[in-house]
Amino acid sequence: MSRDRTLPILAAAGVALLAAAPLAPQWLVFLLAIALAKGLVVLGLVLLMRTGLVSFGQGLYFGLGAYAAALLAHRAGLTDAALMIAAGTVCAAAVAAILGLLLARYREIFFAMLSLAFSMILYGLLVKSSALGSTDGFNLHAKSFAGIALAAGSERRVFYAVAVLLVFCVAWLLHRYLASHWGRLSAAIRDNELRVEYLGASVYRVVYLNYVAAGALAGMGGALAALAVGHVDPETAYWTTSGEFVFIAILGGTGNVMAPFLSAAIFEGLRTVANQYAPNVWQMSLGLAMLAIIMFLPGGLWTLLRRRSAA
């Protein structure tokens, strides 16, 4: 049996990313912060995919997390980044806890379409509500982190470092979870729900818990992305944003908790380059990349790394 090296690799990657925080150029810090924030959303999606479910509506929780963080600053005058991240996570988890009661009863296309429908309801509300900034959204600005004032110009690097630390903790916890009985149970549900029920476990309960966890992770990612960008708008809840998360999940695969972050970084890097040099063929190149992944690497890019380490 091969030794599990996820934790040391995760720790080494975390240290390297943290060390890069004061040295990397601003554009790279921004790109990586966005990739880490989106990777968190995709990590939640991977948790659902391990249970056999694909959500085309994670934009709902991404948007909720972003808006909860922004509204806290905008309406309540609370400009502490730690509070904003916590608000985004808790708000998204609370809504997931309510919607999950219904969604955990559905499977396959019905689950995917219902989750999409809920995200589009939020999108519609955001677009129509002038109190929430309508189509323009609004800006947000954090002035401190956990009570410590942020020096002008250092915010992006601080948010990036926070994102690295959060990702490390969440990825480690989720790795432990997936290796535990509950993680195995999720895979068992994907394979055979009938047998799980006949062994005495509640499929509904496991799906519900995974759904709420995925919602909370998406909310955390949304709040982090909002802090990094400094702006929120309804696009965060739009279906193309949800589709992007599914794309990143398939690109990376579900084989390891590090896969979503790797694929999110590749995705954001490719997008940045393509927007600059080939803006008109960017989406076509995405389609071709998806085709190639599905045909040649159905387990995602992570299978390449696994093959290399197995060789």
Binding site: M1, A188, E197, L199, A201
Partner: protein, 242 residues
């Protein structure tokens, strides 16, 4: 010996087809009974009603006095009634070991590893431990399916054709392993079977179904000699009196 499982006045129809027509049966604790009958006679329907997969149109099923027809399969498993399936219900992408770990984790989360190793050994599955369940030979799949059902230490074990699709020379081996695992544990075993050699060798009691009815019930020799059983179940004409 006290009665553990009682079915009274069970009826179940699928459109015009009657799969259970006034079934009245009771089973005593720590006994082994076989349910026989041609395809469509109502054996699996009976198991499905006991385990909550199907709700009877009328009638009641009680285990230790507790009504089962009001409960889901999961709750019924919690009452100590477990089953295996005619087509083994496994977690195809998980290894044999992981299949058992899932079952052990549900049944007894505190001592998973040690009991999983013991089950692998007891059922002769240790050599297949790392192999995905979807790649197992049929006989091993059957064994794993039964092992999963036994992990929760049931009081009533229902086996739906545990040896179907298995090579003739493996059938007794599988049944020996299963019966060895439940021996002395006070488990009531009901198994559906088409092989009469298996039935007469392992069952202390045989219940014969035909057209949704019980046409014979008793000791194996008596039931297998019954004229109706010979005609409708075994498919042989009864011996004419000399």
């Amino acid at each position: 010996m006290s009665v553990i499982l009682v079915a009274e006045g069970l009826y179940k129809s699928f459109g015009a087809v009657s799969a259970a027509n006034n079934i009245n049966l009771s089973f005593e604790r720590d006994t082994v009974a076989s349910l026989i009958g041609a395809n469509g006679a109502g054996k699996t329907t009976f198991l499905n009603m006991v385990t909550g997969y199907l709700k009877p149109d009328h009638g009641s099923i009680r285990c230790d006095g507790r009504e089962l027809t009001l409960h889901s399969p999961r709750e019924i498993t919690g009452f100590g009634i477990c089953r295996s399936f005619q087509i083994p219900q496994l977690f195809q992408s998980l290894s044999v070991r992981e299949n058992l770990l899932v079952a052990e984790g549900i049944a007894a989360p505190m001592r998973v590893e040690e009991t999983t190793d013991a089950v692998l050994e007891r059922f002769g599955l240790a050599q297949y431990a790392a192999r995905p369940a979807g790649l197992l030979p049929e006989g091993v799949r059957k064994l794993l399916d039964v092992a999963l059902a036994l992990v929760a230490k049931p009081r009533v074990l229902l086996l739906d054709e545990p040896t179907s699709g298995v090579a003739a020379d493996e059938k007794f081996g599988i049944m020996d392993l299963v019966m060895g695992a439940v021996r002395g544990a006070g488990v009531t075993v009901l198994f559906v079977e088409h092989d009469m050699d298996i039935v007469s060798h392992y069952a202390a009691r045989v219940v014969a179904f035909y057209d949704g009815r019980v046409i014979a019930d008793g000791a194996p020799a008596q039931v297998l000699d019954d004229a109706e059983v010979q005609r409708y179940v075994i498919g042989e004409a009864p011996h004419e009196a000399a």
